[in-house]
């Protein structure tokens, strides 16, 4: 896939983690315009996520928004932290597995007594692992 994949973790007020994953080259690159547009698309679908977060019990919310040829899939944790993935049409199972793996890392990260809930995630090892999972599941 030539379209980069954008993965964002959103808390109550602000994004906690962002990773742009380019599966072809493996490095975070891309021109600025498409990056900004991607962020815009992802954040604009937050309203839809909020709305559906109270109508369903599921953590995995599938595709909440479709823009052009890109889709936004979302996963909600028990603490209402949103994992959002902007991608160009990956399969449901694949995305679900990726979310589950990142969810495991997120819970383990929150076990750190120095990590305050709903604050930006700055751990390098978390970043490495998320990227590795993305490359494993989404390419």
């Amino acid at each position: 896939m030539s379209t980069p994949i954008l993965f964002v973790i959103v808390g109550k007020n602000e994004p906690l983690f962002e990773a742009e994953i380019d599966t072809t080259s493996g490095a975070a690159g891309g021109n600025d315009l498409s990056t900004r547009q991607n962020y815009f698309v992802l954040h604009s679908s937050l309203d839809l996520v909020e709305k559906s977060s109270w109508t369903t019990n599921n953590m995995y919310l599938r595709v909440v928004d479709k823009v052009n040829h890109q889709q936004v899939s979302t996963f909600l944790t028990a603490g209402n932290v949103k994992f959002m993935l902007l991608h160009g049409g990956k399969g449901e199972e694949v995305v679900k597995n990726f979310f589950n793996e990142v969810y495991g890392y997120y819970v383990k990260l929150s076990m750190n007594p120095f990590y305050k809930y709903d604050t930006p995630i700055s751990s390098k090892s978390f970043d490495t692992r998320v990227r590795a999972a993305a490359r494993a599941y989404l390419s």
Binding site: N57, M59, T77, G104, Y117, S125, R129
Partner: protein, 215 residues
Amino acid sequence: MSRAAQSNSTNILDRPLGRSGGRGGSSSDGNYVSLSAFAYIYSELVQYHQGRAASISELERRLESAGYGVGLKVLELVAYRSKETKRETRIMNMLQLVSSSVWKALFGKAADSLERSIDHADEFMIIDYEPITSTFVSVPQDLGQLSADAYISGIIAGVLDGAGFSARVTAHSVELEDGEYSKSNTTGMPPRKDKAVFLVKFSPEVLSRDAALER
């Protein structure tokens, strides 16, 4: 891209979270902690805050905020360990989750009962006959109002807030009535004369949202 400085201990992101979460006899010691260790640490925590708080209510507030952070993390942990990818969106289900799963994860047993207040529609009570935070604490006369269980009410508030049900939780000691008895008596301690009641008062928007979901 390999970094030279590799620490000896495993990274927190690599350690297992103890999914068995019970007395399955797993060799990982992440599931059980000694009660005396907890009692010692907790007494130090209370003394630390006591030295810095000017009044009873401030001390209770400090204990509550200490428990709040724990509550937020316990919520995520309990949800992850239960393996079903489901969140709670209704008040009653959320309270059931708190009084059973969260209590089991923290104290090894479910809460003794969950009640709804008759006078106020937004108040619920979780009752525990033997809360570990106050079992080993004796409150002197000049701090008569203090409940050391403020820590647990902070935990409950953290769990509910994290899930989106903002609530005010307070801890009260209520005398045991005749006929009520505490079944689980800590060995070597005299039987308690009171039980801990955690009063959970939800904010109005939580109730209106719950009512809207009812339809």
